[in-house]
Amino acid sequence: MPSFFLMGSVMVPLIGSFFCLLFPRKFREGWAAGIVAVSFVFLLFLISPIIRGELINIDILSVAGSYFDFSFFADGISLIFALIFSFIGLVALIYSISYMKNSENQREYYFTTSLMIASLLGVSFSKNLILFYVFWEIAALTTWRLVGFYREKKVVLIADKTFLMTFLGSSFMLMGFSLIYVQTGTLDLFHLRGSFIPDINTALFLIFLGIIAKSAILPLHTWLSDAHPVAPSPMSAILSGVEVEVGLLAFLRIFVWMSGISWSWILSLAVISSLIGAGAALLEKDIKRIIAYSTVSQVGYILLGFALLKEMGIIAGLLYFMVHAIAKASLFLGAGVVERRYGTRDIAKLGGMMKTSPLFGVGFLFSCFSIAGFPPFGGFYAKLMVIMSAVKEGHLWIATLAIVAAILTMLYLLRLFNAIFMGKEEESGEFAAPGKLMVGCVVLLGIISLAIGVFIAQAMGLPVAAVAGMFK
């Protein structure tokens, strides 16, 4: 039965997304949200077997000795990632119903968005590295389409930049996979795990290039802050909230889980990336660019947690991923609300929104606090544990720099919040008040951020089980 749910959770959105092209408009929105919701519910059924320590494994098309298998497996790590992918995707799709109401090309929008979520789920469950790569590139292609969704010349150029930079990385990654195949004759993750690969370091380095390009880590991060301002807001929420983190999933799967290798310079890279993101976010003036740089900064923490290769760091990184995805999605969806209300993203031209929509303000503030790492929000525990594990392993300077980045994070988020919500109220002009549905999504995610912090012991259950399964 679990294997049915696993299969369904990938296949329902993967196949279902194509029907978005066929259905009429009324039905399409509900369909897109529906297939992702079904997938999310299927994943919920997987939680209890995974916590019990089961490993769910399906081989559909598997030929001995071939480099390609159409096969999936689920363990704790992939389940955590998949749950968050589908959940954020679901919220973003529900938000889209209101946000995308008046835009053109909706057929394309719902098709690519649900296909993208399906491909993210595919990446998390793939057992074969080629399958993994295929889903990875489907995600990249759909990102390319969605970033360039508004089709202006400038927008399309930015979409090309997005695609080319991630593709530059992923082509190196494919070389890495080939190198592994040449040496071992298999690309099955189960077979590769723990097996001896003579030239693993070169292969891993090539794969790492793909990872940093996807995850927007220094020095391949510059596409992210360009892509966000032009993308539709729900797409931004998916892109920064979860899609970028696919790279971290790859890091966790291939570096930590498969080969147990990490290099100490990755820690420095992660923390410097974190600092650069925070510094840039403090100076930017566009809401979405600020939040995009914030992603660069926060992803550094997650990578830091994973790259320590220790149980505690990985748990912390997984928790950080969950918390960050939820809060970051909330911020981007919130940015969409603000943009719809005032018709601008320039923080100098905004202000005083707390007076007109206090509930929205509180939801947005909760997400800011969560990312800044204040207790009792979820981000506090995540940040604390990442830095704690860095200190525990003796990387004191890394921990100090991480704290500096945290202080900068607090500062730019306060700046962002003040600029939007505080101060003198701006005229909203001809724009209508944001829809309840959109505000509701932001507030819901903000409350979840708080709930994770309050029920932290329960929220830790899955990451702890996942990592326990990994080190078994």
């Binding site: 403090l282 100076l283 525990k392 900068l408």
Partner: protein, 644 residues
């Protein structure tokens, strides 16, 4: 007793806070707040009067971290007073906050702050401690937002940055000790660079909460913007209780701070600077609440000074001063608040002559003012005395040659405190009435504040007297001495100051004086007009005394400092912001450079592509020429290969 009693002071206020937020009626909010804080206070008394209680739930088990709470003498005494202040402030707020537009948020914040303060005081585990401590930062933001958003941002940034420093300090401490449990009685010695770093970082968190220089600058800004009960609650009492609690624990439970080491000097320096700088600023203030807020900073200096000596007597003195300060400073703020509530201004220039109309407020504020100025027999004197003693004692130890500087700073600060309070008392209560006050008198609206506002004042002023006169019998015995380890027997240092005896002597002296006065002079007493150089003053002219000390501003050297301080140049917030901005420019430049490199790469590809496309002219002869050239090159290469 059931150990789950420790949970009530944390959970009850949260429930109360949520209820307060949900129920719209004002009366309901007020009653819930008063009832909950009273119940919690009673629980705190129970906790204090019972033996040590330890409570632990499995929490983050994979980290080996339990949700552990612990009450022992020190923590339960902090809890007791935090709850007492919460109750008094709730009571006071009923009248004071009644017309505030953001009443909806005020009581929930108050109760949640109580909960977090209780949690921070009772935490037995550093992660639990950080949880509640950090949440207090958020609540500070919430409270300050009642004033303005710029203020709340400033407050949260200063406190939040210090909290992050504290987190790092805690983690370094964890690396050193291998445990996150906040144990008592086995401190680490400070013998490595990591230990020093950990100590300094922890200390930053603690003194930033307490509001010592240089982390003080949000307090004066807040003074005239947020409602007075907030000032009385947070910077005046609760922040001191918690900040100094942490500082004391750092100095004798986490680490063993040795006297006359460089870290001890650091603390003594911070303490002395805090006393002097803040009191100098207080001298020239015109606003009642701003003046008080600078004293709220200045007094932290004594606590830091006492603890910084590193000897048990000094730590006890510092902790005792913390307690006394919380009491009299809350009393002063609340007294100032009732003046403001009645006259609708807190500018000393526009007050005056209120003693007749608000006698209870006057007397309670006077007692608190004596107390803060260190006039015997009130409580402030006693704790300052202990601090002085400790500074001298530490000076006797090896390497303590600097003691005279610290002692002078402390005593000088005390004198200036008295001076500035003379100004406050005179300007507010004694001088001739200002126009505002006269207007209120003629409208018959000037009378004593209501009972809910007077009750806290009387309780606090009463505590000032009791804790001074019966210093040894009540506060030292109950609260201070059990909290501080290794304190020598009081006879060794208390011997020749008998507060009880001294009080009797002072009272006797006053009675004798009164008798002599009434026998001899009372009939000769006269009331005369203000006298200025032989001319009778006009009605418009009144001396409020506010500018008594303005000459200090014009002293050579000080003038510039005052100017700078008024510009905000000494404000760490602006310094931190500039630093963050500078660092950000650097980081952003790096980011743009990386982007430039990638753009350059794409241009490079384009240019190379363009170059090749130029070659594709479509003319057959050109292609043939290229073909021949290529053939020749290949030939040369192969022939060279054969030849070699």
């Amino acid at each position: 007793m059931n150990s789950s009693i420790l949970l009530y002071p944390i959970i009850l206020p949260i429930i109360g806070g949520v209820l307060c937020f949900l129920i719209p009626a004002r009366k309901a909010k007020e009653s819930i707040s008063i009832a909950i804080s009273l119940i919690v206070f009673i629980f705190a008394i129970f906790i204090f009067s019972s033996k040590d209680i330890f409570l632990s739930y499995p929490w983050l088990t994979f980290l080996g971290i339990d949700f552990a709470l612990q009450s022992y003498r020190f923590s339960s005494f902090i809890l007791l007073f935090a709850c007492l202040f919460s109750f008094l402030i709730s009571l006071y707020s009923v009248k004071f906050m009644a017309e505030n537009v953001r009443l909806k948020e005020y009581y929930p914040y108050l109760l949640l702050t109580t909960s977090c303060a209780a949690g921070a005081a009772l935490a037995a585990n550093l992660v639990v401690f950080l949880l509640f401590w950090g949440a207090l930062g958020i609540l500070l933001y919430a409270f300050l937002s009642l004033g303005s958003y710029k203020l709340s941002t400033k407050g949260l940034f200063i406190v939040g940055a210090a909290d992050f420093a504290l987190i790092l300090g805690v983690l370094f401490f964890y690396r050193l000790s291998g445990s996150l449990y906040m144990s008592q009685g086995n401190p680490l010695s400070i013998n490595s660079g990591l230990a020093v770093a950990s100590f300094v970082l922890l200390m930053m968190g603690a003194i930033a909460k307490a509001g010592a220089i240089p982390f003080h600058s949000w307090i004066p800004d807040a003074a005239d913007k947020v409602p007075t009960p907030v000032m009385a609650f947070l910077p005046a009492s609760l922040d001191k209780l918690l900040g100094i609690y942490l500082l004391a624990r750092i100095c004798f439970d986490f680490f063993k701070l040795m006297p006359n080491t460089s870290l001890s000097f650091l603390l003594l320096l911070i303490g002395s600077l805090t006393i002097i700088v803040a009191v100098m600023m207080a001298l020239v203030q015109h606003d009642l609440k701003k003046l008080l807020s600078y004293h709220a900073i200045s007094q932290v200096g004594y606590m830091v000074l006492g603890i910084g000596t590193g000897i048990p007597l000094g730590i006890a003195g510092g902790v005792f001063h913390m307690l006394n300060n919380a009491i009299y400073k809350a009393c002063l703020f609340l007294g100032g608040g009732s003046v403001e509530h009645k006259v609708k201004t807190s500018d000393i220039d526009r007050l005056g002559g209120l003693a007749k109309f608000m006698p209870v407020t006057f007397i309670t504020v006077l007692i608190a003012a004596f107390s803060i100025s260190g006039v015997p027999p009130f409580n402030g004197f006693f704790s300052k005395w202990m601090v002085y003693q400790a500074v001298v004692e530490a000076g006797k130890l090896e390497g303590g040659g600097m003691w005279i500087i610290w002692l002078l700073a402390a005593m000088f600060g005390s004198a200036l405190t008295l001076a500035s309070f003379m100004k406050l008392i005179h300007g507010t209560f004694l001088s001739t009435e200002s126009d505002e006050v006269k207007e209120k008198i003629s409208g018959k609206t000037l009378k004593e504040a209501g009972a809910p506002m007077l009750f806290p004042l009387i309780v606090l002023a009463g505590l000032c007297v009791v804790f001074g006169v019966f210093a040894y019998q009540v506060p030292l015995k109950l609260f201070i001495l059990p909290s501080v380890p290794e304190i020598p027997s009081p006879h060794l240092w208390l011997g020749w100051w008998e507060p009880g005896l001294a009080t009797i002597l002072i009272i006797l002296g006053i009675i004798v004086g009164l008798v002599i006065y009434s026998l001899g002079k009372i009939k000769l007493g006269r009331v005369s007009e203000s006298y200025v150089g032989g001319e009778v003053t006009s009605d418009e002219m009144r001396v409020s005394g506010v500018d008594f000390y303005d000459t200090i501003r014009d002293f050579v050297g000080l003038r510039r400092l005052y100017k700078a301080a008024e510009r905000g140049a000494l404000d760490i917030y602006s310094a931190m912001l500039s630093f963050a901005r500078g660092a950000s420019y650097f980081l952003f430049a790096l980011d743009r450079f990386v982007d430039f490199v990638w753009r350059g790469l794409s241009w490079g590809v384009l240019i190379v592509g363009k170059g090749f496309s130029l070659a594709h002219t479509g003319i057959l002869h050109t292609y043939l020429a290229w073909y021949l050239i290529g053939l020749i090159i290949l030939l040369v290469i192969f022939l060279a290969g054969v030849g070699g």
